[in-house]
Amino acid sequence: MQTIRALIVDDEDLARQILREYLAQERDIEIVGECTNGFDAVKAAIELKPHLLFLDVQMPKLDGFEVLDLIGSEIAVVFVTAYDQYAMKAFDAAAVDYLLKPFELSRFRAALDRARRRLQENARTPSADELRRAAAAPGQFLQRIVVRDNARVHIIPVDQLDYVEAEDDYVGLHSGGKKYLKQQTISSLEASLDPAIFVRVHRSFLINLNKLGKIEPYTKDTKLAVLSDGRQVPVSRAGYMRLRELVDAK
């Protein structure tokens, strides 16, 4: 029987203590570490290579969704939360395992069994992006985007995002003259952002309306969006129509 390496992430001592206590009774589980905030969790997930994560939703630095976003879908995750009506709905919909504090041993074992099965089947954890969108309260949009390059974590507030460019399986996030690469499709990112501020002006480009300077004609059918810092982004015909609609609505 292969040993499962587990990482516990929760900012409360007592909450970690319960997980430790329950996990101590499982012979195939080894606790490789405990973290009290999101940054540490991402670091530990990379360095300690756990198979299974017990992940609190609300924590300092990064929340549970952001941690999942940064560590990818290979690690099995069991979310642990006290009460969050929107998150619970999202977990149910995405068939993600979660424990509601306080939880009993039998409920914990059931969640653990499912996690074992998923690990055996090499099933991927649903993407953080999709999960977070389902867990958002109505009218609540993504506030910031987290990006990891190796062990470094960058946090980009969406109001500082100038534009987004699609690059194969990645998106290039342009903010304050810097570019960050993130593995995500432009459509899924677009779906998480406030549609009153971010406009898909082109199949491969998404711009922040608040950073738009002016629009210039380019070819017969297309135009160029000039951002306030002078950078140019192509605008397709359909993109121009979407842009006009938003600008006129304001």
Partner: protein, 341 residues
């Protein structure tokens, strides 16, 4: 009490309406009866005064016959019969005053005779108008009453609300302590029960002494302190002169809850919440200060906070109660000002 007597302005307005109405009545008498100005004044004035009083009586009949639940036939019949009675009384008063003044005003009575049908009809009309006015007044009253009721219901709902996140996290702490430190688990059960019981008890009252609100807040902090351990530190600096001031219940506790949720809980090493209370002359000034992480992830939407405290301040004190927030140097400060009563 009749609504027109409740405020001076309403009464004066009613009086003002009667000046042209009375003049019209007198003018009508002098036109159709051929009375001179002094004659019509002498005859009309007592009648107008009687009508002035009788036109207030629909308040009671209208209340007894609500528009919605009374059959229209009964509604019309009752008001019409009352109107005719009133009209008869007023006409009688007119006749009596004409008779009384007959010594000074020769054949006034006979001339008045031709004016009677029109006068009776006019009184009937005035009375029916007054009925309509009273139904309007009743509608205004009931909408005001409904507003008060809905506000009360809203406050009650707020008071009864304990943040579920807090409750479940506390229960989880107790669950953890049961094996590691049973005495501490029991202690926390008792603290949590104290808090729940007191917030229910205080929530039922409309105002409580500040000292009781602070005691509730202390119990709340004791529970949270077990949960957060060394991460949560609290410093109290309270002027005993605040203790007796009456405040709406659960005004401070949600602010402390926010200071933990959006402040101390966002910091890896936690932090200190400073609570200061001062009484300056007849104002109580209460300050809660906490550090926070400006780069913390956006809070998940749960519980309630500043908005409810603000609306309750507004409901209780109008503009005399204030809640101001300041951010400086990664510290968040809430300043609550209420009149000391």
């Amino acid at each position: 009490m009749h609504p027109l007597f409740r405020t001076r302005a309403a009464f004066l307005l009613y009086l003002a309406v009667w000046v042209p109405l009375g003049a019209m009545f007198g003018f009508m008498l002098s036109l159709s009866g051929g009375l001179t100005l002094p004659e019509s004044t002498a005859v009309a004035l007592p009648a107008v005064i009687v009508l002035f009083v009788l036109a207030l009586t629909p308040w009671y009949t209208c209340k007894a016959l609500p528009l919605r639940s009374t059959p229209p036939a009964r509604l019309l019949a009752t008001h019409l019969i009352t109107a005719m009675c009133v009209s008869t009384v007023v006409v009688l008063v007119t006749k009596i005053s004409a008779a009384m003044f007959s010594l000074w005003l020769p054949n006034c009575q006979t001339r008045l005779h031709s004016a009677i049908p029109l006068a009776a009809f006019m009184v009937l009309l005035i009375y029916m108008l007054s009925v309509a006015l009273h139904y309007t007044l009743l509608a205004v009253e009931s909408s005001k009453h409904a507003e008060v009721l809905s506000r009360e219901a809203e406050l009650k709902a707020l008071k009864a609300q304990v943040n579920p996140h807090f409750l479940f996290n506390s229960l989880n702490s107790i669950s953890a302590l049961t094996t590691s430190d049973p005495a501490a688990a029991r202690e926390m059960c008792i603290r949590l029960s104290d808090f729940l019981r007191n917030s229910l008890r205080l929530g039922e009252r409309t105002s409580i002494p500040f000292s009781e609100e602070l005691a509730l807040t202390k119990t709340y902090l004791e529970v949270e302190q077990i949960r957060f351990g060394k991460k949560l530190r609290v410093r109290h600096d309270l002027d005993p002169a605040c203790d007796d001031c009456e405040v709406p219940p659960l005004l401070v506790q949600p602010l402390i809850e926010n200071a933990i949720k959006h402040g101390v809980a966002t910091l890896v090493d936690g932090g200190e919440i400073a609570i200061r209370g001062r009484r300056v002359q007849n104002v109580v000034c209460f300050v809660i200060e906490n550090p926070f992480d400006p780069d913390a992830p956006a809070a998940r939407k749960n519980g309630f906070g500043l908005i409810s405290v603000r609306s309750r301040l507004q409901a209780r004190y109008g503009n005399a109660g204030r809640l101001e927030t300041e951010v400086d140097n990664n510290r968040y400060r809430v300043v609550l000002t209420v009149p000391a009563k």
